[in-house]
Chain length 542, copies 2
Amino acid sequence: MNRKKIWLYDTTLRDGSQREGISLSLNDKLQIVRKLDEMGIPFIEGGWPGANPKDVQFFWRLKEEPLKQAQIVAFCSTRRPQQRAEDDPMLKAILAANTHWVTIFGKSWDLHVTEGLKTSLDENIAMIKDSISYLKSQGRQIIYDAEHWFDGYKNNPDYALATLRGAIASGAKWLVFCDTNGGTLPHEISQIVAEVVEKLDLDLDDPDGVQLGIHTHNDSGTAVANAIASVLEGATMVQGTINGYGERCGNANLCTLIPNLQLKLGYHCLEPQQLTQLTPNSRLISEIVNLAPDDHAPFVGRSAFAHKGGIHVSAVARNPLTYEHIVPEAIGNERRIVISDQSGLSNVLSKAKNFGIDLDKKDPKCREILQRLKNLEHQGYQFEAAEASFELLMREALGQRKELFEIKGFQVHSDITVAEQTPYTHALATIKLVVGEQELLEVAEGNGPVSALDSALRKALVKFYPEIATFHLTDYKVRILDSTAGTNAKTRVLVESTNGHKRWTTVGVSTNIIDASYQAVVEGLEYGINHVLKQSTVTIEG
Amino acid sequence: MNRKKIWLYDTTLRDGSQREGISLSLNDKLQIVRKLDEMGIPFIEGGWPGANPKDVQFFWRLKEEPLKQAQIVAFCSTRRPQQRAEDDPMLKAILAANTHWVTIFGKSWDLHVTEGLKTSLDENIAMIKDSISYLKSQGRQIIYDAEHWFDGYKNNPDYALATLRGAIASGAKWLVFCDTNGGTLPHEISQIVAEVVEKLDLDLDDPDGVQLGIHTHNDSGTAVANAIASVLEGATMVQGTINGYGERCGNANLCTLIPNLQLKLGYHCLEPQQLTQLTPNSRLISEIVNLAPDDHAPFVGRSAFAHKGGIHVSAVARNPLTYEHIVPEAIGNERRIVISDQSGLSNVLSKAKNFGIDLDKKDPKCREILQRLKNLEHQGYQFEAAEASFELLMREALGQRKELFEIKGFQVHSDITVAEQTPYTHALATIKLVVGEQELLEVAEGNGPVSALDSALRKALVKFYPEIATFHLTDYKVRILDSTAGTNAKTRVLVESTNGHKRWTTVGVSTNIIDASYQAVVEGLEYGINHVLKQSTVTIEG
């Protein structure tokens, strides 16, 4: 184990925001940058102020309220062909952003110089040198991103190396190898980085000398492995994004890279305490960019440490490292015992512990819960993804379930009338329920029968439980079980609810989709009212 | 470039189905295995017949209707400790599955033998040898999966090697290194595989000798890179799943591995024509397992070859390889220009040809169909798995769609009454439609609102189209689009119908699930009446 320092460089705010479907407001960017700063990321790329007016404002705001520890980095291209660096409007915008560090990207691939920039190979090298020298003369430190590095080097190694020599000569501190098209494989990366170190005669152990960085894309599914390969050859800066956001197939995922580098390879990226913020920050940032978190993401996904099956579970409890590659707590994630058909008593016990329920293995209730679970799963219920419903089931068996209301019945009416070729759709729900001594009858409309039913239920209950006003549904999933039975098949509905802080999931099953949805919606409300603390931070309950 | 053959081994049906949220019906499994067979995957793991009754049925069905080219493989563990192989019920079930190839997994890690199996290290080796020898004596060929290989080897290399020597001595054809916990990094894989080849003195060039395989999990985000690392050290079998499905963070994604191995490293995995089925099959299988396709997946994702920005786009057009790591058509994907998409015309033409429709590229109808298709897909329709609906759309644009009836409107009513704690559910549908000159009003009950609606529609139409009596729905799938909108989200419904001989699939989209279902059911009836020959054999139309 070495304790060599790796300088993390986050580009979620620039390269990450290129992902289709992400559109960040100024406020989103400010929230994200402060989280990254808190977590201890040393370099954060804020944007390209010359190309994007929103980015100009962003840097302005950070000047007013600086970050705690991170260096905020402005990003731009080299000067335009046949122009003086000091006259280039892009470079002027960079200076106005007033950062200590600037990342300049330039062309490494001869073809992109002649076909893309439509200039000469010599002029491209002059562009790199002039831009770096000028920014250096204005007191900036330079990170040089060598765009299309690996493709350029494969096609014309001598020219590619000449561009790097230009960057070194004009004073760049870091040379970053960018696999812009994402097509390079790890063994090629290892070989090329090693060759470059030799050909440029770099002394990477000299802290005052030039250092190497890596910037990879995931088009071959190997962005993380590519970054690791470079680090093993001496790169000390790793560029990537939170959750691997980025255009096409994304950038190298820092949430995967950081634990690999620190927990497996022994490099120093973050303080151990900061590392435990990785999972919560991954999820928080996915909330900010408004994308569902990937449950199956390495390290930080909800399923990353999920275990099924009885024997397996008791083995994990005895010695976690026999079934887990790292300790989930190190990165702020947790082991999760998946409740399923195959689960045994030890699963039930460990779930009870999670729910804060004191349950003894010898308690006959334990077998009763397991039996209940198996019966329901046989009917098509699925508690793997619906832990809130499972907690309610467990509390019911133990006599701890607090009934808040009793549904007497409901009616849902949906109709479509085609008038002059245009269909008109309408949905209405009425519901009758008892809260305490009071019988209530409520009615609501909706986009469809389920949303009408949900509205009617809330309208009735909010008078008694005002916290319901903060609840809303964040996800609604439908699965037809044994779908070969056609429209007579059973339907399973999963509903995810939130109060803005916590999320919880409930389940319903029926041959009638309205009935299945109703069960899940009702349990979601009950669980929220009884078991969700209002002041908690954002966590995911399952 | 070498043209060395790589033997693909798909375990979507077993390991892939371990992913939380996937639950495959027998029919789902049969559909998937036939697609994989068509695509040319040589080994397909069908399941663990001893552990799962559904898998027994699956192998039975394949005996009745064998695959075209693939070897279907049954999977199981070694015999139990202190038992004769011929008495082990698991091994009996394997023999009953009647496959030519069997994959046996055994323990490589001493700790798992003593702590998990609670038996001696010698007995574990005897279990491996006995199980393989017995199955060999019954005419089976053996693939040996060495579970926890890399962790086992790191902890006790001598013992781990002894387990492999046992497998070789008893006649296993393939030794497969399994990174069961998914914690190993590519450089460790390379090193360990190379060491094992040397220590076991394997001659991998001898086609009659033992061959090596690799089975990786994605817990470190490097499953694909790990598999590639093994292949570069001589492994010739690659195990993985379609779309990387699998427990926790998934298995090695075959949709990423295959193009990397074949298009970049020059190995031979599939025929070029079969490789073009990779993208459509990735998407079709995600429909079958009812998970949204990952738009950002390498190679097969919708965004994998998406380009933004003007200069970029024309540069791609001039020389694609400057901005794309491979040619998307090689794997059946397409370049997509975000904003103004020009692609798809050839798709329309090739579909028309499939449907037996004569359509010329220069016909303006061609662009009209494409435009219509894009508008509908933007609204959430999806025609990849609903070719019957696509054919109706195309025929409509060409003036070839024969309207059989006109729906004037329908009403659906669903109610639940709780009497003495027991809920009573009831669903009723009324429908008004015109056939020819005749206006019809019909009513029916059902298990739920959709089945009531389906019954009412059939009751009305069967008088005019008696062949409807043979139709029934064989599959009904619901997907919530933009599920974060909760119960107000749009719903897409896919309905598969059959007349007992042929099957066809139609699609409907609406914020109201009843409306979406109705659209799909109505198109299913129309397509069946107009376009399905009564005497054809069972095939899947899409």
